[in-house]
């Protein structure tokens, strides 16, 4: 019960009882309560005139990194005020140190600071504002207001840089990079032989081939290495996600997408990201650190969704990706996805699929159950058939048992050219 309501009832009760019983001393007993209520009423606070500002030690951090939040509140009113401050912290963030509430007495123009440390999982967190209450000296009345000191905290996924990811798109850009361009010229890897042309460096001369054909001088050709367009497609369909006590399979997809984006961008490629599921969330292709940041922020806010029209990959907007470029799909894969992947291959895209294994992930979450083990065997068979169908259409598929770190699986399965990948992909 509110304190002022209790006092009011007691005062009214005593006065009415005294009048009813015709006993003046009972009415007199109400006087101290009246004085108390009157004093509080006289000091009743007006709407708080405060100014709140919030600062983060970093507005963008990796998952699990502590962030210090400082909230400063200043009294802009003409009277001293007892201020109770409460910062509205998003419930998903975990407070590890400090307090989100503060009680202090502020002189006019004075300010106080509240500081605390939070950690959280991947996501974008909006801080709605600071709730401030001003009280009368006896704490009977309180005027509360919400001050819009908004803030946004990005907790981006952890990025593990991969040593090497071999891709061979059919089309590359003109700029030098690290992706074999299927064209002879200056490079590292041997590509072929051609006749000597004036201007060729003499160290390119292939002495053996020239010795066999004394009339002609042959030089070695090397495969040019260029940068390429890479389109990352993250499957954010709710039906592809598996949630257990240990977490969500989608988080592993995010982890893989972050690692691949970082690696491709680090090697100078132009990378775009499409999140397919909740909506078509498209991060325009770009180069360098800025693009890395854009992609990480997009991944930070990634959520699964069940938009009916995006249930299948049929509406994948292929126009977003340059023709014959490299696509990387990160998806546990659904049974009906194989046809769409074959279609992409037919259109000339080089396709790499990173597929976190939903069967082993769910089985780990279920624990040891005889029925679950039997069901998992059937599911594994179905999945093996699905992956095999995809591989037959020329898609490179990496089956990722999520108990193995992505770095390890990528190091094994992606560090060699895609030609040799088919036989070994899936081996943990």
């Amino acid at each position: 019960m509110h304190r002022w309501l209790l006092l009011s009832l007691l005062i009214a009760g005593l006065v009415l009882l005294g009048l009813g019983a015709v006993r003046g001393e009972i009415v007199a007993l109400a006087l101290p309560l009246l004085v108390y209520a009157g004093a509080a009423l006289l000091g009743r606070p007006e709407a708080p005139k405060l100014e709140a500002t919030r600062l983060f030690s970093a507005e963008r951090v990796a998952r699990g990194t502590p962030v210090t939040v400082s909230v400063s509140i200043a009294n802009l009113g003409a009277r001293p005020a007892t201020v109770r401050l409460e910062d509205q912290v998003p419930p998903q963030l975990m407070l590890v140190e400090g307090q989100t509430r503060l009680l202090t007495r502020l002189a006019p123009g004075a300010s106080a600071e509240l500081e605390y440390i939070v950690v959280g999982e991947r996501g974008v967190y909006q801080f709605p504002g600071v709730q401030a209450s001003v009280e009368d000296p006896l704490g009977l009345f309180r005027a509360t207001a919400l001050f819009h000191s908004t803030g946004q905290l990005f907790i981006v996924p952890e990025v593990s840089r991969l040593r090497r990811v071999e891709i061979r798109p059919r089309r590359t850009h003109v700029y030098a990079g690290q992706i074999p361009a299927r064209q002879g010229g200056a490079g590292v890897e041997f590509y072929g032989l051609r006749e000597y042309q004036p201007g060729d460096p003499t160290r390119w001369i292939n002495s053996r081939a020239t010795a066999r054909n004394p009339q002609t001088v042959f030089v070695n050709q090397f495969e040019q290495e260029r940068v390429a367009d890479v389109g990352l497609i993250l499957d954010a369909r709710q039906q592809s996600d598996v949630r257990t006590r240990e977490g969500a399979l989608f988080e592993y997809s995010i982890q893989a997408a972050a690692a691949l984006a970082d690696t491709f961008l680090h090697r100078g490629n132009r990378v775009g990201l499409l999140m397919y599921g909740r909506s078509l969330d498209w991060t325009l292709p770009g180069y360098g650190k800025l693009q890395r940041e854009r992609i990480l922020r997009a991944l930070a806010r990634a959520q699964t969704g069940d938009l009916p029209v995006l249930e299948k990959l049929d509406y994948l907007p292929t126009r977003l990706f340059p023709a014959r470029s490299q696509l990387v799909l990160i998806s546990p894969l659904q049974a009906h996805d194989a046809d769409m992947l074959a279609g992409l291959r037919a259109r000339g895209y080089q396709l790499l699929v990173i597929s976190p294994d939903p069967v082993s992930f769910e089985l780990r979450g279920l624990g040891e159950q005889a029925m679950a083990e039997a069901a998992a065997r059937i599911a594994r068979l179905e999945r093996a058939l699905l992956l095999q169908r995809c591989r037959r259409t020329g898609v490179t598929v990496v089956d990722w048992p999520t108990d193995v770190p992505f770095q390890q699986i990528a190091g094994t399965a992606l560090s060699r050219p895609p030609i040799g990948l088919h036989g070994m992909a899936g081996a943990p």
């Binding site: 005062i11 005294g18 004093a39 307090q99 005027a143």
Partner: protein, 164 residues
Amino acid sequence: MRAIAGACVGAATLVLTLSYAGQALWAGAGIGAAIGLLWSIGQWRGAHWPTDLYLAGWVGLAAFGAWQGVSAGWMLVAMIAALAAWDLDRFAERLHSAGRVIHPTDLARAHLRQLAIVVGVGLVLGFVALGLRIELTFGWALLVAGLAIYSLSRLIGAGRDAEQ
């Protein structure tokens, strides 16, 4: 702060119980002692939530005692001590739930000063009122009752305004 609140509960209990016992109203003395004991235990355990009930009980006992002819002066003293204890309990709860408190000693000192003024004025006014004797006709009594109800509604209105 805790010691002062405890002392207030002790004083209120002692005065009320002895006053009731002086008039051989043993049931009232027992109830007063029981409420005082429960209140003290609550303070010791840090349970502040039933404090409103204790104050209401105390006011009820004081009014009942005054009606039964127990010395109204002692009832007034007991009630003021209970009011102070209630206020200090609530203040302690506010500090406890506030998270971080900047300069708690200054806050406590300012609050005690305010409370001391209020309690002092209340005590003086109460004793002055007990010494006065005014004859009220039925019409005046009705007017006072109407004023009490009006003031009550204003107080409730003020409380609601402050919260919005």
